[in-house]
Symmetry: D2
Subunit: 338 residues, 4 copies
């Protein structure tokens, strides 16, 4: 059985593993104050340009979201997301566990829109309702789509007008960075208050690099990290991995490769089946007759998203740095023969 379940089924990209091995015996201070974290931070600075963001390395996505969102909001403030947002559905209430409501509207192609934000802001009339203070978006989205630079600029303008922070979850950022019209890392940094560069789903063993661009949100974040159990003792492990991913173009190369693998699957699938929100990223959503799905699942693992009707199911396939092209070809052959 070969798995297209997700992009974290294997360990780390071989170059990342090499870097961990090479540095394994070197002594360093703990908790992210080491040379490797400094170098990884420098690599990020270099990509971002003139800004001077605060950079922190965390272990996982849910952890990063809950730690940073709770850092930015006062007790009575809320975060805006679309209903499909990772924080709203798939984090077991981690944001609410830190005391904050998530205000949602139905996603539009997987995304938050300016209209959505404005509608939520308009609904908040007095102190008997939570105050929206942050907008959370994901690049790429939960449904495999992505924000163009122009969309991001519009959302950021709307946020600034309404005194809202904009926070981008970049768990799968690499897949978007290499796509047409998508903002570069530098452009992202100029159009959000903070974002994170995902590692776990982009070839690292684990890790997310949080980049805080807005000066107002920087103070005391290392305390916040520890307070939420999110400060890794051997912080160097995060520095080493992100330095390897970001010093040259490994991060983008991984994005290109996984998108290419996904494109191959997509091209074949759409000949036979309707795609849902046809993405160009490393996630594919496709609606299958259950009989065909049964055939596929004799050899491949895929994620069931929704039951569409008695005889159809929406599934997800995900590619990654580790995707085996031979298995992709085998999958294509299989569906062509169904």
């Amino acid at each position: 059985m070969y798995s297209f379940l997700n992009d974290y089924s294997e360990g780390a990209h071989p170059l990342v593993m090499d870097a961990l091995l090479e540095t394994n015996k070197v002594q360093s201070v703990g908790y992210g104050m080491d040379e490797y974290c400094r170098k990884a931070g420098d690599a990020i600075y270099k990509r971002i340009g003139t800004l001077a963001p605060d950079i922190h390395f965390l272990v996982g996505g849910t952890q990063t979201n809950m730690t940073f969102i709770s850092h930015c909001l006062k007790d009575y403030q809320a975060v805006i997301a679309c209903d499909a947002g990772h924080i709203n559905v798939h984090e077991t209430g981690a944001v609410e566990a830190t005391g904050h409501k998530i205000l949602t509207r139905e996603h539009q192609y997987g995304k938050v829109t300016v209209e959505m934000i404005e509608d939520i802001v308009k609904c908040q009339v007095d102190e008997h309702m939570v105050e929206p203070k942050m907008v959370y978006i994901s690049q790429t989205t939960e449904w495999g789509t992505y924000y163009t630079l122009s969309e991001l600029e519009d959302i950021y303008a709307c946020c600034q007008e309404n005194d809202l922070y904009l926070f981008m979850d970049g768990a799968r950022l690499g897949s978007a960075l290499v796509l047409e019209g998508a903002p570069t890392m530098k452009q992202i940094a100029q159009n959000v208050d903070a974002f994170y560069i995902g590692g776990t789903k982009m070839g690292a063993l684990f890790g997310e690099a949080l980049v805080i661009c807005n000066d107002d949100l920087k103070e005391g974040f290392r305390y916040q990290l520890k307070n939420k159990g999110a400060m890794l003792a051997k912080g160097r492990l995060l520095g080493v991995q992100f330095y390897e991913l970001l010093k040259d173009n490994l991060y983008e190369e991984i994005g290109l490769f996984e998108n290419k693998m996904a494109d191959k699957l997509r091209t074949a699938l759409k000949e036979k089946y309707p795609l849902y929100l046809p993405s160009t990223t490393n996630q594919i959503f496709v609606d299958l007759p259950n009989n065909d799905l049964k055939e596929i699942e004799k050899e491949f693992m895929v994620t069931h998203m929704n039951t569409l009707d008695k005889s159809h199911t929406r599934i997800r396939l995900v590619t990654s740095w580790a995707t085996d092209e031979k298995q992709v070809d085998k999958f294509i052959e299989l569906i062509n023969n169904i």
Copy 2:
């Protein structure tokens, strides 16, 4: 400069790194539901014997403490610790951040005592005060001492009498396991409601294995993990490492080695300086004239604990699986020549 600052200055034990490398390309399901975690769990079962504990793998110690303590306590319940307890001092209020008070008394040789527990329980008279419901101890303690089997049994008996859970933080468990009179892992499991087997400070890249012995505390813990941002996507990384540490005796061998290195340092130090709470574990606390400290710090990094007076400082030295015996010898030579 060689560092005796702590036991997490390097990466992982070479055998642990080998295991991570070997399994790197294998696909597995996420979030700790994989084969490696199952095997690591089996290795723990095997050591513990007839019990059937729930086993969960987390990334770090503070995370494990806050996630598990908040899992066990109702809103109005508190955890008992000694004033030196890691949760009380060095976790930036992570337990309180989950809503719970820590009730403390002054440590006795770094430890919690039966008298301490009974005194705290007696002070709680009605619903205007928090209800103590758990006792937190560390093996080894923050001051390098450890609980004997007999001490542990007494504390557990006291806990059961007073309807308190007993939770042992085993961040440095390996150092204690190999010492005379200390409880074995099996004896620990029989005398606590839960404990964790530390990995971060015992040769893993990171990770702590939480062992829940009390059936009442098992329900829903995977939800709790996710709710607190403590569920690792590539959970297999934890399984692989703990399997390597625990399948044979690597965990104990690391404990023996670090204690032996500490013994060498201790023997030399106590010739010249007073030791504080003379431990037999991998942490050494010693009171030095500041002039001597200055000499030492030309070549070695050590942790400053307290300023004792204008001219004396209490410092800490820690050994680990990675301690270089040549550096130990060099340190001994240096202090002998001061």
Copy 3:
């Protein structure tokens, strides 16, 4: 200007004030352990019959909701409500502030339905999502409708089937108790796990009487009260008021009176304007041309609910024990002359 803004614009019903005055100089123990609270509890027992619920008196509705909901749920559990639910909209995130997510669907005539609950339960598939554990309903609802006995029974059956607690917010319970088909207090107690009898909006100065019917939810609630700042020092004030309201039929008489006043307004309004979800309780929702609204607001205060379009607004009028019938007549005359 006369206010139809809400049912808490005045102090307390004269009989309640009398009772407070009469008992003012009597000494009693604090925190709800007094004779008056016992007598009020007995009055509630008497209405409910064979059950032996735990009864606690709190000061306000939001406080009661957040204190009790957080008492019942584990960290990772959520409460189901309709989107219009008071806890979801008008409590400034008080439930989320205690750590819990609210799962919603669009209200049906102001209500939660069995279909809604089942759909939410079905969507929850694993530990990456919060576990729904409670259903929150209001009698009467935010939109002035009410649950019939039959509807309540269906919802409770659905809750029991799905291992969910059912909690009824009875801020305006008196208005429903006297309506056809509505459950009696005894029937409510048999068909929920807990409910509260509202005082603030039903003639008391303040106060809500929480009735916990499910034995599993009783333990430790006085600790929870104090932990959430919800234990009133002079708890007797709550006992005195609820005893006065519930010892005979004052509570129901208030319900009847406010409904009657609302009926008068309703009858007149519906001749000229469309009512929204035509209720029979003490809240009236009506859609007005803005010009007419302007006329009304020269003499009366009403609540603006929604802007319907450029020239129409949905407003709310509320009656209470204190509503002045002469003002009702004057209002009717006014709209008849517009």
Copy 4:
């Protein structure tokens, strides 16, 4: 049986009850936005002088403490108190329930001292420990003592030097205001960041008036009130009561009367028994032989504080606006005849 248990055994001062009665039928807007709250606020402004504090009225002391402390602190910040502090002992972890640690040292005559604060600040060295950010004191203290103006000034200077907020819990403020050397309300306002004027223990049915002096702490507090379930629907009840207490000198008269009653008891008691921390406020702590205590408790209710030894107990007597001087005389006669 006559009770000296506390200062909230009766309802409200007759003048307060009169004011509530007189205004009972008047309509007002809800949630503290009414005329009565405005007038009560003006009465406080008038006493405080040139400052322009934000004033909010809450129902109880624990509620005020937890709502305001959590308003001021970031997730990782802590509040300093002495070990006897009300928030540390008698609020069932309400402050921790909002996520914040309380850092304590042993009280000195019931008080926090500059040395205590400096010691706690000095112990905090890095982000692995909570950041102390507020000092909590009570006027009068839990042990019946009070801060002089000079002591308060010193503590405030220390707070400002260390970037700490100073918050004074004035649950029994009236008893201190009329004592020699104690700060006036105006002097308090000049030497704290916020304080509250207690009503519950000073003749109101309930209520505490929070006065926020520091501009940085004012923003969004009405949201915080609602978020913590602390916004009273009929907020006018608080305005009416505090206006009555503070418009002239009723508040101080109550303080004078209760102190005078306490002085009578104190004078008699100290002839026969050792007083603990001999206070001049309305709380008396005295160490009694158990046999004598038994005699007293045939006719009077008192609070047991500590068991001193097998045959001695420390008890507390409290006087209030409602204390019956005949009962005071009867008590004195009784102890004189033991």
